[in-house]
Structure formats: C-alpha cells, structure tokens
Symmetry: C2
C-alpha cells in the first residue's frame, strides 16, 4: 500500500512532510466527503491502545463508560447561552427523518454536555446518587470551514468525553485536577510527548465553563497544540438543567460539574513530534506493533531454516509480551520491507539471515537512531525489553529538550513579535490580566495565551503590551 516512501524532508516542508507520512504510512486517508477522514488500521490501533490505557486509569478511579445519543435537540443546546454561542456556528443539523421534516432540528453532537445533563437532572435526587462519574468514547462533529488537516482539524473526529457531577465545588476541583494529571501521565509516559499544564484565560476557556485547565505542547514548526482539556463547569449547567440534590443537610443544592476530553488529534501530535524523514516513529508503549521480524534469505542459503528460526523468534517475543509480527511476504525484498516498517514507525526491527541462524544470533535495528546490534539468541528477550525502554525514554527526552528550547521569555513587545516570527514556540511574558491586551495581541500577531501555568512565577517585567503593572506570567503562542 506504500509504494513510495516520504519524499520530502521534515526540516524543509513540514506541512507536506506531515501529510505524506500520514497517508503513506497507512495511518489515515482523506474520506470522499469534504472535511472528513478515514482512520485506517494503524491510527485506529493506536487509538485502541490509548483507550485501553485511559480506560484502565479512569475505571480504577470509579468512572464508568456509557453511550448517550448522537442527537441533541436544538432547544437543549440553547439552554446555556455561552455554550450555545460557542458551538452553534459549527453544528451539523439533521432536519429530515425518512421522508418527514423534523419538528425540531437535531444537532449532531459537537460535545454532549447538554444531552447528558438533561438526563442527570432525572437521575440525581439525593447526595447518595453523587458523585456520578461517566465517560463516553464516540465521534463528534464540528462543521469546520477552515481547511482540513488530518487528525488536527476535520469535521468529524473521535474522542472521549467525561462528565461528572459532585456535591461540592471542592470535589469538582479535585476531579478536574485528577483527570488533568492522568492526561499528563498518558501524554508524557506513553505518548512520550512532554506538556505544560495550566489554566486557560477567560476568553480561551470552554464555552460554559467556570474555568478550563489545559495541556499544551509545541510542534516542530513552532505552533502550539492543545492536547487535552479538563473543565470545572461550576453550577452553570446544573442551574439551567435544574440538576438538584437533597444534601445530608436535608436542603436542596445544585450539583457542581466537570467535563474533560482528549481526541484523535493527539495522534497527529505523535506523528509531528517523533516522526523523521523515513516516516513515523512510534513510542514503544503506544506502538500496536513493537517489533517486526524480517527473514533475510540469501540465494544459496536454506530459506526454510531461516523462516523456521524467524517464526521461533516471533513466538518467543510474543510470549514475553512484546507485540511482534513476522513479515514473511514472498513478493517483497528485505530492503523494501525495511523501508515499509520504518515508514510505519515500528520501534525495533529484527533481522535473521543465514549467518545469524548458524551463529545463534539476530541483528536488531532501532527505529529512533537506526543503530544496529548483534545479539545472542539467549539474550534476545532481555535486550529487546531494555531497548524498548531506552527508545521510550530517548523519544521523550528529545521532545522535552525541544520543548524547553522553544520557551522564550521576552520583556518587550517588539521582541515578542520578532521571536514569534523567527522562532515560534511559547513566548513567556508578563501580562496585566486585561482581556483588552490579550485581544490586541491576538489581532496584531495571531498569538493567543495558551496557558497560565500552575507553577506561578513572579512577573519579570511590566505588561508586555500596555506596559502597566503585570499580574502574572503567561505563555503565548500561535496554535493549531
């Protein structure tokens, strides 16, 4: 399916490189519908790994998976004014069912707060019913008018959305942070993508939230990417959907709520952050296939012995819990296979030729550094396990180093504009806290405040824009 490798360098034309890697590795394809994409087997298998890891995390902390309808009546969306205003420009509307025009048009969910909370109002009666901690894996639709970017901006994408209800603000605050920390662990320790965590400003928060926390990182082209968000919705939705409970104090209270989500855009981040001129590079903990065994039959050699050994090696690795495939296709040469599996980002390649069989050894090649080593068969499992850990760590450290280099503190607005233009990345600057300055900067540079870091720093200058006294240090960037 991938006759040709990637024919443009990451450093030369990043955008074209990205598209080629996604298409040629078999991660995804454009759908025959404007703005939509197809999640092919490789990206879907990565998504299944993410589901497995995140499900384990949230089930451990008492969350349950459910499935709510795809359709949201317009009247529900309208109930929370900010929420409606935030989402209505991007809604796809169903207006006809069978042959009959609908009395009320139905939104294809852009997010499910309203349909879920209309139901919570029915389910919640007493403090005994709290907390409710539900999550769903589904697709959502946002009718983007900007041009499509595979994984990063499409009209339909896959995500998970968590929706919880609590008796107190403190509990909701705690939930927001617990989930943010699980996201951070997923991003850093599985996807090997370091992130900064913090708060969104008032103008950047989720439509209808009290506050939004976020995970942000920088792509190789210097643009920021939001990797996930976790919101405290306060009582904004419980008041309009009338979600009340009788407390232990026997009085009526509105519940406090949170919602949080990550989407398939993190797969786009995986490609961008770790990929190279040969294609994808997958961190071992998220790679659906961790090692590929390739027999190298020479003309004179006994092919069946090599193949038998390759099968044996594959079995051994699989038994040790290492997800391994054997590529024994006859219609392709070893060289072609090397390229193909490099393109697909498999962390380790294990080559077995006639000499290897004779000497009881194999050759192992790393995808991240292309380093090769010859290993005695009896040390195979140990070596492979170590190498997988080393690769995982190496990818994270490289990305971490890049992220750190891409944070530039500036004190002067001219420098701000220059850094943004020439280098990109996060610009760390002091800010007076006014929405006006934030908006002016956005207008003039298209950079926005990506986050107010949790680890507060003292302002190191006056406000970068107005020059008045600064309130806090924030991170600006252009973003996807």
């Amino acid at each position: 399916m991938s006759d040709l490798g990637v024919i443009v360098k990451k450093s030369e034309d990043f955008s074209e490189w990205y598209t080629q890697v996604v298409l040629k590795s078999g991660l995804a394809d454009y759908a025959p519908i404007k703005g939509c994409m197809i999640f092919r087997e490789l990206s879907y298998a990565i998504w299944e790994k993410i589901q497995e890891i995140f499900n384990e995390k949230i089930k451990r902390t008492g969350h349950k998976n459910v499935y709510f309808p795809l359709f949201i009546p317009e009247s529900f969306l309208r109930k929370e004014a900010e929420h409606f205003a935030g989402f209505v420009p991007e809604v796809a509307w169903v207006t006809i069912g069978g042959d009959t025009p609908l009395e009320e048009r139905l939104a294809i969910r852009p997010t499910s707060e309203t349909i879920i909370y209309a139901t919570y109002a029915k389910w919640i009666r007493s403090w005994r019913d709290l907390p409710i901690k539900l999550n769903q894996w589904c697709s959502v639709v946002r009718w983007e008018t900007k041009s499509t970017k595979l994984f990063l901006r499409t009209r339909e994408f896959l995500w998970q959305e968590g929706h919880t209800a609590h008796a107190t603000k403190e509990e909701a605050d705690k939930e927001v942070m617990e989930i943010l920390n699980e996201y951070k662990d997923l991003m850093e320790n599985y996807l090997a993508i370091p992130v900064l965590v913090g708060m969104k400003t008032e103008s950047e928060k989720f439509a209808g939230a009290l506050y939004t926390t976020t995970l942000e990182t920088i792509m190789p082209d210097g643009k920021a990417l939001q990797m996930g968000t976790s919101h405290n919705l306060g009582q904004n939705f419980s008041k309009v959907f009338n979600i009340k409970f009788i407390g232990e104090d026997e009085k009526e209270h509105y519940v406090w709520q949170t919602s949080w989500g990550i989407s398939t855009r993190v797969i786009g981040a995986l490609v961008m952050v770790h990929g190279d001129d040969k294609g994808l590079v997958l961190p071992p903990k998220i790679a659906p296939i961790q090692a590929v065994v390739i027999p190298i039959p020479y003309k004179d050699a006994d092919t069946s012995t090599i193949l038998a050994k390759a099968r044996e090696i594959r079995e051994k690795l699989q038994k040790a819990g290492i997800s391994t495939v054997l590529d024994d296709r006859k219609e392709y040469t070893p060289g072609w296979k090397f390229n193909d599996w490099e393109l697909k980002g498999v962390p380790l390649r294990i080559e077995i030729g006639p000499r290897d069989v004779k000497q009881g050894q194999v050759t192992i090649a790393r995808r991240d550094t292309f380093e090769k080593q010859v290993v005695k068969e009896e040390k195979l499992i140990d070596t492979v396990q170590q190498l997988l850990e080393v690769i995982q760590r190496n990818l994270f450290n490289k990305a971490k180093k890049f992220l750190e280099e891409m944070i530039t503190p500036v004190k002067i607005y001219d420098e701000f504009k220059q850094v943004l233009k020439e280098k990109g990345g996060f610009i760390k600057a002091s800010w007076c806290g006014s929405r006006e300055c934030e908006e002016k900067i956005k207008e003039e540079t298209s950079a926005t405040i990506r986050l107010i870091p949790f680890e507060r720093e003292e302002p190191f200058s006056n406000c970068i824009y107005c020059g008045k006294e600064a309130k806090e240090v924030v991170y600006f960037a252009k973003s996807y």
Copy 2:
C-alpha cells in the same frame, strides 16, 4: 438507583416485565429524544465484553478495526439500487452545516457499505492488495417509525460492521461462513443463547446482497429474534463502485465482497432469554461483575473483622481472575443489597457474617437457581470457578431446551395458523419456494420465513400454502 424491584412477573406481562428489568437494573434508559436510548454503565460494560471477545476472534483471523465517516453522500447511497430502496425510508438527513445549507444532503450512516466501498475502489489495484478485511464498531441510525423497544428497536444503536473484499467468490463464501461460525460461538458459548443458522430467502435478504446467512432464536414470548447476519454481496457493489483488481492472470476482475454485523440488540436477547422475576440473570462469561461480596454485620458482631475478611476475599477472587466487587455501602442493609445485585444479574453472591469469619467459611448463593452453599475458605476459588461454569452451562441448557420445544413441525396451513396463535415459536414447514406463497403467508399471519436451515431436510409434506410440490423445509415465525 433501583429503589424498587421488578413488580410484574415474566410469565404474566412479558413486555412490561422486560421494560422494568431494563430500566430498574440500570442497563439502559430512555433518552430525552424520541426513539433514542441511553446505554448506561451496565449495558455498556456488557457491550465492552462483547467487543473484547469478538475483537479477539476477528483479529486472530487477520481482520483490522478502522473508523469511516458517519456521513454518506446521498449520491453514494443511490448507486446500488436495491440497497438505496432498502434503506432510504429510514435515513436521517443532514441538510445544514453551521449556517449553510449543504449542496448535497448527507445521510447519517444506516450501514456503511457505500462509503467504505467508494474508498476500496481507491485502495485496491492488484491481487496483492487482497483480501481486505476491515471492521468498525460504531453507531448507526435508522429512523424507525414503529414504537421503540429498548435495545431491540431504537433510532440509534451500536453495532459492528465487517466489510471484506476478495479475489474469488469461493473466498467470499468462506469468509461469510467463518464469520457466521464466530457469531454462533459468541452467542452460544458466551451469551448462552442457542441459535439456528441458515439462509434468508430472496425477499428477506440484505438489500444489495447476493445472499444472506442468519442466526435466529426464539424469545420467551414466542417471537423470533435475528441475532446477526453475514452477507455475501457478490459483485453487486464492486460493479457499481468500480472496485477492480489486476489478477495474477494479469486481467482485470471485480472483487467479491462480504459484510456482516451484530448489534446491541443481542443485549435485549440476553435480558429476555435469561432474566427472571427478580431481574437480570447474566451468563458468567459475559457478566462485567461475576461475583459480589456482601458483608453481613450483626449488631453485636465486630464489624471491622467482617469487613477486613470481605476485603480479603474480594482480593483473592480478583487475583484469581474473577471479576468481583465488594459492596460495603453503609447506607443500605444486606437485604436491600441482595435484591439490588439480583436485579443486576450478578451470577454469584458471597455472604460473610460473623459466624462465617469465625469458622473460616463463606456462604455462596447462585443467581440462576438461588441455591446456597457454605464453603470453606480454602476451597473458595475452586468452588467459585466451578460454579461459574455450572451456571454458564445451566443457562445455555435451559435456553436450548426451550428453543427445541419452540420448534413445531406442521403440515397443514390451519394448524400453522393455530400454532402461531397459541404457541408461537418456529414453525417448521415445507415450502414450494415461490415468493408468492411466502408473501401470502406474511399477509395473512404476519409470520415470515426466518431461515432456510443449512442442514437441509427433505420436505415432509406438500407446500404449506399452495399444496404444490415442496422444494425445501423452512422455519417460519413472527419476529421482533
């Protein structure tokens, strides 16, 4: 969440009993949108088990999971005439995106043949690209106008749909049967629901298929339920979507295709087949929770000792691979908890009281027969494992016996009508093979031919309707 148990008997008002069990066990709820439902945590957890089991089966045989768009352009649906005619009355149409009317309206997928095959035409070039064996888990929408029945008939439901392309008819035939056999194994050996397998008639086959194979069973009210279907699509779709490949003979050929699916309606079957007057009864192999541990603190007894023992038992079972919860809620009595977990269908209840702790034993109660036994702690794991197997077998055998009793061979049309009216179930009859007789019977009795069994039997009378020579023996029934 379930303050009251089921207050109607299965034998007295089956339909009301079903609704009460589904709602009160917390399996599902009505959505605040006409015709839609909410898959609550219990039904979704069962669906996750089904996904896990079926994924393992199909991945073993080389199928891959993917995700194609929710939207299907009207022009795609129109390409295969029978297919369009079959689905168009039930399509929900998106006509507006954001503020803009769409140029071409988009169907919410009722099934994905057309969108997937439009893409296969792009992906398939040579015999080397075959077979393609893809599957997706998603929701589909069919704008039903009949009244809703939770799990069995809703406007949106969850399913998997497999879509394969092959070089020859023989390969496609083989795929159809391979999948049908996997379905049968899932239904019988996991869901404990015995099924009959066979072919659909021309008028009952899937819209656009060459032929349809089916799994059918009988519900306690005598109506048949289709549990899954596997279709050979022949070259009907490849011809209209132009899916061609260059064969090893270097000539151009159209591919042969299959599609197959099962849906969340099988959860409805689970409820109906195994449930009793106390609520759900889940077969152990599909039960998200296999055992519940309930501490029984007596007034005078040392509660903390009992609780500590209950925790220990729970740990032990969990470690042995038995999915177990400890119900240590203080706000409910043991009696209330017994009812609650019976309602939810958990196969085994393990009670621990002060006497049990003293004597190093526990009391185990079976959900299917309500039998109780006292077991020494050292034999706990073995006993629980055996009991789970016994329950699994018992549920299947009971259902199998019922299914066999509900097959009635008849030779005379008057008897046919009488059996249908008084007993229901499958009516085994000889049929001439004409569509006319099939339709007349449907008009007059609303019974349809559910299947032509694979194990062909010689006709044992003339055609049940026209009295002419019969061609084959078929199974009629009224159905959901």
